[in-house]
Symmetry: none
Subunit: 411 residues, 2 copies
């Protein structure tokens, strides 16, 4: 038995999107309708009824984790979103390149964003050349957009209970990191951060990029300010819980990151861009191929959400039609016999709202173990009449349940 | 966007109420049917499937709080029910006027109910004149029916972990309050209660009401026995969670109290009596007016529950018809454009049972963001076929979700 979970990001919509109907309801999707007719529909609240989900919390919940238990905050999941190689237990920080001046031995903040410099990537290597080996910890720094970046600390005896080094104002020194609880780990982590602040400054102070910026009258990125310490949760991998091999096919870094945290192997797919131009036939072929080697394949398709955030109802409808034709068309040509399939979204992103909303999301289950219902089309209203009723998150446990993967809870 | 939540207390019914149908199903309610036809229905379990809810726990759950987390016991919520001005963190007690005799310096209980005296209200002022200022705490005492009343302690460093002063038997001294945990707050609260017991006795002993009762051969109400210490939970106000202005229109003290605890402003409405004679047109007009100034208006209508407890199926049916005609008739005349509306109950009170039962309650949602379903009437069976499926509590989060109030959980 094989399991295929396909998440169309931000799939759900509202009647206000398209003159009384949603994009999914207006779009032509004969392949999805065929699957709906043979399978069954239900309505999923990503977290709980009335909760507006983020993509991070929603995916945790869809995979069967309780986000109220495991979600440690935006800091940790942003690190996943910029594609850093991060593991459960790592301490994650959001970071800014900043401009500081040394006055009487103190690093005084002149600009918290170093003039919104664009050369972060060029400074990355110098930061990563800093050593914290005397503390017995590893770290990884990654520059992202403009002055932004992220830092990950890895090692034994670390804690996220430390204050920011970002003073959140200018004209004052870079803040000393302080332990926020009376534990050796918190005290040690604060010491490490304070050492890192000084060493990063020394590595950046005379960097050629900063010398060039200074010569052009621009503010140098000569310090890093850290904020929002958060521990990356240690998730029990689905491979362990269910005793399966699991793979992820996605374009967006966040989805790859959460999948990896959940124990899935992230497969590279040429042309999977994580936007509206993604190569959907390539993704379908990659999924079919992966189903030869893996018990579970998770496919994430982002374009639906992008069109929703853009307020582009026509674009969302057209993208759904393309997903139906190219992804599901390709898939249905060679659908494995012993397959259970789930198609849903991680939340609702109505073009009429341009943001994630709390509305439940239609979910489709298909496969030999699924009790068929009377629905004949895939859509929001059809899902409200579906045979699977309404439930919160947990798409993956249900899908793997149909496959009879995993053990019993109890005897 | 505006939100209107209308709770008809004890709305749900059973087929045994009215010869195979519920009161709601038998009643004529063209206005509610019009809303159902344009909106969508679902079935709500107030707490969870199979749990018989109280009005207090049900309202907490409907408002989006987890009663298993925040419900601190009947003591605290009875204080709300008698309309006391109580705040999160206050320590609440149920109280009895009792008759005691001083013997060898001890107050020995002669009657735990002071002959079920009727003059509690006349003694209230003398009790409230007692001072606990030397302890740095405030208190408020309120007499309710017969010998009953309630006491609220307010101040820093108080605890509900204290034993009753009510010995629960006669012929023995009033019990010393003891700390039930080894904390300074519990020890201090016990001391305060023991001082209060003595001071209240001194204030009541020679009170003219008690002298008169003694002259008539009646037992004096010369002491107060306290029991059931409970802390009033500190709820995160909905105004804060969702960044909205919120108001409550209700007759019954408990509903006003829970709404206030949840951060709503309680609006006075002349003629809102909290029973079957309530002025429903006045309530509808007040709701429409409040919707000009508030983002959320919560309207509580009690009569449905009263008729249920009385076993009066005809009366419940007639009251539902009056609610439809007078409340919703008035409302629909001037329904704001940008409104989301939810109509439901807090639990089921079948006249056939005369008590709250565990059955799920029909819920109706209406407004531009609500995906319409095929239901054409508001009733228990129609709700079972509704497009919103079945869910537990959380009516208010869903209603506010349709309005896009509040932030995301995650990013």
């Amino acid at each position: 038995m094989r399991a295929l979970l396909v998440i169309l990001d931000g799939l759900g919509g509202r009647p206000t999107d398209f003159g009384g109907a949603t994009c999914l309801e207006r779009a032509a999707h004969p392949n999805l309708d065929e699957l709906a007719a043979a399978g069954a529909l239900g309505l999923m609240d990503p977290i709980a009824p009335g909760v507006r989900p983020g993509s991070d919390t929603a995916h945790l919940s869809i995979f069967g984790y309780d986000p109220l238990q495991v979600y440690t905050g935006r800091g940790a999941f942003e690190v996943l979103g910029i594609g850093m190689d991060v593991r459960g237990g790592d301490i994650c920080f959001r970071a800014n390149f900043a401009t500081v001046e040394e006055r009487e031995g103190k690093l005084v903040v002149v600009d918290r964003r170093a003039g919104r410099l664009e050369e972060g990537k060029l400074l990355e290597e110098a930061v990563n050349a800093v050593s914290l080996r005397d503390f017995g910890v590893e770290f990884l720094f990654r520059a992202s957009t403009e002055h932004r970046g992220a830092l990950v600390l890895r090692g034994e005896g670390l804690s996220a209970a430390v204050s920011d080094t970002d003073p959140h104002e200018v004209g004052v020194p870079v803040a000393e990191a302080r332990p926020l609880e009376e534990t050796p780990a918190a005290r040690r982590t604060a010491q490490i951060l304070n050492a890192f602040t000084r060493r990063a400054y020394e590595a950046l102070r005379d960097h050629p990029v900063n010398k060039k910026r200074a010569s052009e009258g621009k503010l140098p990125g000569n310090a890093l300010l850290l904020r929002g310490a958060a521990i990356m949760p240690r998730l029990v991998p689905v491979t362990e819980t269910y005793g399966i091999r699991a793979a992820c096919i996605a374009g967006g870094a966040l989805y790859k990151g959460v999948a990896k945290l959940a124990g899935m192997e992230v497969l590279p797919v040429a042309g999977a861009t994580g936007d509206l131009k993604t190569d959907l036939r390539a993704k379908a072929r990659a999924a079919l191929e992966a189903l030869q080697a893996f018990d579970l394949v998770f496919v994430h398709i982002k374009g639906t959400d992008n069109a929703g955030h853009d307020g582009d109802a026509e674009g969302k409808k057209a993208f759904i039609e393309r997903v139906d034709r190219e992804f599901f068309g390709e898939l249905l040509l060679r659908l494995p016999q012993e397959l259970h399939l789930c198609v849903s979204g991680d939340h609702t992103t109505p073009p009429a709202v341009r943001e994630h909303t709390a509305d439940p999301v239609p979910a489709l289950f298909f496969g030999p173990a699924v009790r068929p219902d009377r629905t004949r089309t895939f859509g929001e209203r059809a899902a409200g009449e579906g045979g699977l009723g309404r439930f919160s998150g947990r798409l993956l446990p249900q899908l793997l349940g149909y496959c009879d993967f995993g053990g019993k809870f109890g005897a």
